[in-house]
């Protein structure tokens, strides 16, 4: 176990009481790796800002088709009035893209939070206790792995929402559907790390002092198995957006009057593309690409920065 001082400073996902998260990470990279990280961070920060301040940035509501009693012209080209043009239903594309960020962020945060808690707890218990519980859980998780993720997400979203798709219900069902895809990943990583860590002498030391199982799990093991999670979290965030967009595109998303959703808009733009109406597809599509790109860049750079074998160092002196 290489536990150099530098490695410890860059564990961003783990709450550290001393270092400002991110600064140590940034400092440990350099050259192209740092550029990648910074580009990713800028994209992700932009995404979060847009999502949080959507009502201020958007010029109209996401389902608004008229202003001051006048209906918007449908399928209008980008103009000063409608920066990204309007859609076939007469909505302002710019506003829908902005509000789409909000939906995406909510779904990502919700799905990651649920799957993180479920996956980590199950993984810890399964890896530490082993025995029949471990075998059953591993079998179930491997079975989930074997399912095509989008199909799994569709099945779960139908079960959860039961055909209803209100704002909260829609977001929740999308989040739960995505969670079902991710839990096996966290489970596997945490379980395997736990199996490795539980043979470490400090765990034996805790057992010798007479610490109970839950104390060993959450005080001694948990903090030592989370080091690879920041990488999976950011990469999964990117995948979550793709799954959400896929669900929306296939029509399992959220009603257009309840929330703006990029995948759904892309689906509705299908017929426009062949008619030379590019703006309804390009803008939501570009939003998806940028956010996924940002999260992937951050994830990959964290991976490289945390792994001393991949990290490049400045060779001065």
């Amino acid at each position: 176990m290489t536990q150099a001082a530098g490695v410890d400073n860059v564990a961003v996902g783990v709450p550290k009481r001393r270092a400002v998260p991110g600064i140590g990470l940034l400092r440990s990279t350099h050259g192209l790796q740092r550029a990648t990280l910074v580009a990713g961070l800028v994209l992700v920060a932009g995404f979060i800002l847009v999502a949080v301040f959507a009502p201020l940035l958007a010029r109209y509501g996401f389902a608004q088709t008229s202003a001051d009693g006048v209906d918007f012209v449908r399928q209008q080209e980008p103009s000063a009035q409608h920066w990204f043009g309007t859609s076939v239903r007469g909505e302002d594309v710019y506003s829908r893209v902005i509000y789409g960020a909000r939906t995406a962020l909510m779904v990502i945060v919700l799905s990651l939070a649920i799957s993180l808690v479920v996956g980590v707890v199950l993984g810890l218990v399964s890896g530490y206790l082993s025995g029949w519980l471990d075998r059953v859980l591993v079998l179930v998780m491997d079975a989930l792995y074997a399912m095509p993720s989008l199909l799994l997400a569709i099945v779960v979203s139908v079960v959860v929402s039961a055909g209803q798709s209100g704002t909260l219900g829609g977001i929740l069902s999308a989040a739960v559907a995505i969670m079902a895809v991710f839990v096996p990943q966290y489970f596997r990583v945490v379980r395997n790390a736990t199996v490795a860590i539980k043979a470490e002498p400090f765990v034996d030391a805790a057992r010798v002092t007479g610490a109970g199982t839950s104390r060993i799990l959450f005080r001694h093991i948990l903090s030592n198995v989370t080091s690879s999670l920041p990488v999976i979290i950011t990469l999964n965030g990117a995948e979550a957006i793709l799954t959400l967009a896929g669900l929306g595109f296939l029509g399992f998303g959220i009603e257009p009057t309840k929330a703006a959703e990029w995948g759904y808009d892309l689906n509705k733009a299908l017929s426009d593309v062949s008619n030379g109406i590019w703006w309804t597809a390009i803008f939501p599509g570009a939003a998806i690409v940028l956010v996924v790109l940002g999260m992937t860049l951050v994830g990959e750079s964290i991976n490289e920065a945390l792994n001393p074998l991949l990290r490049t160092r400045r060779a001065d002196a």
Binding site: M1, Q3, A4, A5, G6, V7, D8, V14, S28, E200, P201, F202, D204, A205, A206, R207, V208, T209, G210, A211, G212, T213, R215, R219, H220, S223, N224, P308, R313, R314, A315, D316, A317
Partner: protein, 550 residues
């Protein structure tokens, strides 16, 4: 001196090596100058981080990419410090070769040993396959591997550790290099095997005339094998002297402290008359432990019918070579491993078969110190929290009292008060082992089990930790089961000694009985195999025990 460098097998002139690390550049070797004469054994000694390996490896080009070398390394009159990897390939094996610390890791598990030796031979000669194979057999005979015609087709896993090291040595001498670098060649081996390998190296030096650069931290090995010694500390050469002179009258203060820290077999404190036998803290009765063997074969018996007892305030040293089951006994006593049969009684209570919950009160009376101080403290907890853990688990203290108690404990093991706020990786190995000791003693235990507590430490640190150990024991009078492979350490600390071999108890008795007057052949051989850090004494011992290693 500088004029005759062409006659040297290997010479270093103002060698410096710096590494680029996360914490900036680190100078591992600083302005090192020394020579290796042809046909001599030059020992480079020093504690971990002294730069002994790095300077030796600079001569064979085996430094990581992050290293920057400056200065001159002359190998047979040619400067090799600035060579490219490709140029080094032409030199390695032919002019200079290396024997590694871990023989298991230095051999490729997928090829037979004969193939690997033949590869080394064919790299620098134009022998065909068949001739190379014959040469491999010849080399195996030269390193005295029994039955070389047959063993040449063995895979590494079919050989024992000592035999593997012989194969590694055979690879190294394949092209009769002028210089062999042996980097801790016996550290991973048991003492009896170590004695055989040292004998082999001495023999090879005489027969081949190669110079051997022996990198080691073990002063006994130095006294046994070396002609001259280079002492290094913090990247610099402290002293260069012939071996007799170094041990007899060390010139540098650092060498003196280093030598005085080395535990000596036969240097234990005088035997105290045994005080009352009435109070046994630990009684192990007919303990056996079996592990499931591979499919088809029967279970593997790691511990076989072992009985011991330890009285209050006493230390029992449990010694044995690797695989003798000594650690398994320690784990059984700590209830980390369930015995197959037999009973373990701590303070009158039988702990075999108790559930974790029932064990808790017993564990209050109990401390355990682990071998590797680096991994036995949770890396994500502060040292203070680690030490406080037993007190918290048993809900003995809380709040301010807890913090005061932790400060007291840290003070008792001579750690500065601010250590409580630091993380384990910020401490040195010796400090970490002190923190471990503080944790083990937190509840004022009646029994302490120490499993190789000093084997991962440098000698001077080991010395300080052992001092502390003795002092704390006389103060707190706990009984101690001290598990070690190092007879010299056991000799210094233990009141009674038990010798284990392949899970069975060979001999048990007072320290003087077992170490000074051993009854069984095995113990005699074990005691004789330990090299003593005194060249004259070691020569005498070697002659006396020559008959034991046949």
């Amino acid at each position: 001196m500088t004029e005759v460098s062409a006659a040297q097998a290997l010479s270093y002139r103002q060698l410096s090596v710096t590494f680029a690390t996360d914490a900036g550049s680190v100078r591992a070797v600083d302005d090192v100058t020394f020579d290796v004469h042809p046909g001599e054994v030059l020992a480079v000694v020093g504690e971990s981080g002294s730069g002994k390996s790095v300077s030796a490896r600079a001569a064979i080009g085996l430094l990581p990419d992050t290293a920057r070398v400056s200065g001159v390394v002359e190998l047979g009159g040619r400067d090799v410090a600035g060579l490219s990897d490709k140029q080094f390939t032409a030199l390695r094996g032919k002019d200079i070769a290396m024997v590694f610390q871990e023989p298991g890791a230095a051999l490729d598990p997928l090829f037979t040993v004969g193939y690997q030796i033949a590869e080394a031979v064919r790299a620098h000669t134009d022998l065909d396959r068949k001739q190379a194979r014959e040469r491999a057999v010849e080399l195996l005979r030269m390193v005295r591997l029994p039955d070389p015609e047959h063993r040449v087709d063995y895979y590494p896993h079919q050989l024992s550790g000592g035999q593997k090291q012989r194969v590694v040595i055979a690879c190294a001498i394949a092209c009769e290099p002028a210089v062999i670098i042996a980097d801790e060649p016996t550290t991973a081996l048991d003492v009896t095997v170590q004695a055989e390998i040292l004998e082999l190296l001495r023999d090879l030096r005489d027969r081949l005339g190669s110079a051997i650069v022996l990198i080691t931290h073990n002063m006994g090995v130095v006294a046994d094998l070396a002609d001259r010694v280079v002492v290094m500390n913090a990247g610099q050469v402290v002293e260069i002297a012939p071996v007799e002179q170094l041990f007899a009258e060390p010139a540098d203060p650092y060498t003196r402290t280093l030598l005085s820290a080395v535990p000596h077999l036969g240097q234990g404190r005088p035997e105290d008359s045994a005080s009352g036998e009435a109070d046994p803290v630990l009684v192990v009765d007919r303990l056996s432990v079996e592990f499931l063997g591979p499919l088809g074969s029967g279970p593997f018996r790691a511990v076989d019918d072992v009985s011991l007892r330890i009285d209050r305030g006493q230390t029992l040293g449990l010694v044995g070579e690797s695989g003798s089951g000594k650690s398994t006994i320690g784990r059984c006593v700590a209830a980390l491993q369930r015995p197959t049969s037999g009973t373990i009684t701590i303070l009158g209570q039988d702990i075999t078969g108790l559930s974790q919950r029932e064990l808790r009160p017993v564990r209050r009376r109990f401390g355990f110190v682990f071998q590797d101080p680096a991994t036995s403290l949770n890396p994500r907890l502060r040292v203070g929290d680690c030490v406080a853990e037993p007190l918290l688990v048993h809900k003995v203290l809380g709040g301010r009292k807890l913090r005061e108690r932790v400060a007291e404990l840290l003070d008792a093991v001579r750690l500065p008060a601010d250590t409580a706020q630091r993380y384990p990786h910020e401490l040195s190995g010796g400090q970490r082992q002190r923190a471990n000791l503080a944790r083990a003693l937190a509840l004022g235990p009646d029994l302490l089990v120490a499993d190789e507590p000093t084997s991962a430490l440098d000698v001077s640190v080991q010395d300080a930790v052992l001092d502390l150990f003795e002092e704390l024991q006389s103060e707190w009078s706990f009984a101690c089961l001290f598990i070690s492979h190092d007879l010299a350490v056991v000799d210094r600390l233990a009141d009674r000694v038990a010798v284990l071999r392949n899970g069975t108890l060979q001999e048990i008795g007072t320290r003087d009985e077992v170490l000074r007057n051993p009854q069984t052949d095995y113990t005699r051989r074990l005691v004789a195999a330990v090299p003593v850090p005194d060249p004259a004494e070691q020569r005498r011992r070697r002659a006396a025990s020559a008959g034991l290693f046949e």
